[in-house]
Amino acid sequence: MVTAAPVAEATGITKRFGSTVALHDASIRIEAGQTHALVGRNGAGKSTLVSILTGLQAPDEGEVSFGGEPAPRLADRDTWRQRVACVYQKSTIIPELTVAENLFLNRHDHGPGGLISWKAVRDKARDLLETWSVDVDVRTPARELDVEQRQFVEIARALSFGARFIILDEPTAQLDAAAINRLFARITDLQQQGVTFLFISHHLQEIYEICDTVTVFRDARHILTAPVDDLPRTELVAAMTGEAAAEAVSRRRGPSAHAAKVLNVAGLSLPGVYDDVSFTVRAGEIVGLAGAASSGRIEIAETVVGLRTATGGTVEIAGARPRPGSVPAALAAGVGFVPQDRHHQGYVPDMSIADNGTLTIPDRLGRAGFIDGRRRDHFARSMIDKLAIKTPGPQLPVSGLSGGNQQKVVTARALANDPKLLVLINPTAGVDVRSKEFLLGKVEQIAESGTGVLIASDELDDLRLCDRVLVVFQGRLVAEIPGGWHDHQLVAAMEGMNLDV
């Protein structure tokens, strides 16, 4: 069956960033009038594909075409805008301006005398929003829109440029259930009016609800494209994870059942983020906290270490209750902590390895607030040895290290005060394979020595060494999976899908 040219097609796309390959010979073909889902785990190459499809980046190899015509030049923004638009998770709206002005920014209507006619702009904006039945007052300042309204306004703006192909980048991540339903109703509506959507979501259930076709990317490659109805969920998950259904071998013995609890979380709640979370970690135990990026797992871990304050519930660390919301108190109670984003919270880039590694333990470096440089460097050298950090010496600024070694410095700092509880958030994000293995091996060693470990991550490799994995979905603990799980079992739970349906 030969149909009309696809709305958008990318063939043989390869894109490299330095030595990493973001996309390798990837293709996607989006037929007119479809709602096409693009899924893949983090790092699968989805966002790179989006930026190539929207003309923000040029592929190294391969071609993009719209409706059978080759894509315009990158500099020709106007033509791109008439072909495709993307509604990102991050707003591209100017908060201080009204909705009307945001819609017609830099293409205002001019009245007599060359001045902007605000009435004409408002009328046109109102018409536009009415055409696409978006119910927002055009005089509202954009900052007052909620996420849902903002998305609708951005969709309407995209349509007003003439684009009939719209990419939605995780549109449901910040919406509640009712808003998601309204968004889906809108998508269905627009689809009937001839708009094609590429829908990116981590929530597989949604794909079964509104998409016609699904494309799976994994490890920078295109894995499959199939009609949603022909693809059982298990196969979709298998395609996302790779057929790595091999039994995970537990390399270590779990903690004894009598080991003391080093972390006891009871009834922890933070409205809108997580709700009634309770769990324990024993000495020597490694517990995973799995979930999608916006599931609340990171926030739970951050609450344990005092970066956030819960509104209800308690955190007990090694029998003590540190003051909620206080990092020093948590550190004093025996917590070591690797934060979510090392660039942001992990280290001070221009300070030396020695300074960074000992930031949490100044009291051990000297008396009365003075720091003994020799003692600090001694500490730092032992860290460098222990964690095999590749550096000429402890005086090198951390910014001069590779990603893997930077992460080792952050880990070293977490270990500096011999913690009873080690909390790791995305401990191997942006780290090369060898450093990753090394770091995870180190974590196992530390657990052997009797430290309780909590790993909040969505990276399967991080979670594989856990004695058990707690799955967080939309702010709640929904499952506890003992070690030795299958990939698809965990991924399905993280994506909020019940494989038994």
Partner: protein, 352 residues
């Protein structure tokens, strides 16, 4: 699964049915909100009225035309700087060097045109050149600022802080630390003439603000200032040539500062080596009190005007009230702090 699909469809219909009701309610809140937004623009009007009443109670002279014109005239030069700074702040930049340009631009003109023998004048050029030179120096300073800030991507605060010191130093250098007197006629004109019973500088100031209000409110160029200050990436994505707009804003700001300096020199019939010293604090205070955000993208020209007007009315009341001149400075600072606190309360949001 088919069940869930129908469920979606039903809720979808339900929501479209329900939106009519929701729409009308959001529209009415919209109206209230707009009224409120306009109020924000007029936020200082009540304060101005209160000060007018207090002023009248302190001294019956206050509301007389002469005194009001006096207020407008003393504030006219600095108001031009507020106008310039407002544009710069809206695009999320800063220009501290404006206060030095106020002194240097007319200073260079005086240096070149004032005859030998009177202070440090060189008498190289006839007096008619003085106004063009003043404005040209303003443009030149703006170009240097823009070159550093836009072309080389340096931080505007530090660049213009450096420029502030350099320009002030140049003026001290060429004047030998002395004051230029016996300025050419053309330099005195704008600062001394009366048009239709009001000083020309007052007219100029009011006209410039009127132009500013129209440009910022009703032209594509003016709106692009807000877009750049609010979200520069979104502005670029909307096809705005952000660098070009920034160039125009920064150069225009310095040009306006030179004009302000010209008005001041004309009124005082001299250029002191410290002319404009310390103005920038009042300028920033007036802009922020007037609702301009230091974070860019927010505030109106009218608001900025009410800000500077309020400050000068208060000063005038203090003078009429017989506050010793030695204390005016301390009181001024206090008033600025109080006004900032009040506008923080009425604005409702943290200033940064």
């Amino acid at each position: 699964m088919s069940e869930s699909k129908t469920a979606v469809a039903v809720t979808g219909n339900g929501s479209t049915g329900g939106t009519a009701g929701k729409g009308s309610s959001s529209r009415s809140t919209g109206k209230r909100r707009i009224a409120f937004a306009r109020l924000r623009d007029l936020a200082l009007i009540p304060a101005i009225i209160v000060i007018a009443i207090v002023g009248q109670l302190v001294s019956p002279v206050f509301l007389q035309a002469d005194n009001l014109i006096n207020i407008l005239q003393t504030m006219s030069e600095i108001a031009v700087l507020v106008l310039a700074q407002t544009m710069v702040l809206i695009v999320k930049k800063m220009d501290l060097s404006l206060e030095s340009t106020v002194g240097l631009a007319p200073g260079v003109a005086a240096w070149l045109t004032v005859p030998v023998g009177a202070g440090h004048g060189l008498g190289l050029l006839p007096g008619g050149w003085s106004v063009p030179i003043t404005l040209a120096v303003g443009v030149l300073v703006g170009v240097v600022n823009a070159l550093f800030i836009i072309r080389f991507g340096l931080n505007g605060f530090i660049v213009t802080l450096g420029m502030l010191i350099v320009l002030r130093g140049i003026l001290t250098g060429i004047s030998g630390g002395q004051t230029f007197f016996r300025l050419p006629e053309s330099m005195l004109y704008l600062g001394t003439t009366q048009w239709l019973g009001m000083p020309a500088s007052v007219w100029l100031c009011l006209i410039l603000f009127a132009i500013g209000i129209v440009v910022l409110g009703f032209t594509t160029f003016g709106r692009s200032l807000y877009a750049i200050g609010g979200n520069v990436d979104a502005a670029k994505a909307a096809g705005i040539r952000t660098d070009r707009v920034l160039w125009i804003v920064i150069v225009t700001a310095s040009l306006l500062a030179a004009l302000g300096g010209l008005l001041l020199s004309g009124r005082l019939a001299s250029v002191a080596s410290g002319q404009g010293n310390g103005y920038i604090f009042t300028v920033f205070a007036a802009a922020v009190i007037g609702g301009i955000s230091l974070n860019g993208g927010k505030g109106t020209m009218f608001g900025a005007f009410t800000g500077i007007l309020l400050l000068f009315m208060i000063q005038n009341v203090l003078t009429l009230g017989g506050v010793p001149a030695q204390w005016i400075g301390a009181l001024n600072g206090t008033i600025i702090l109080i006004a900032l606190a009040v506008s923080r309360i009425t604005g409702g949001k943290a200033q940064d």
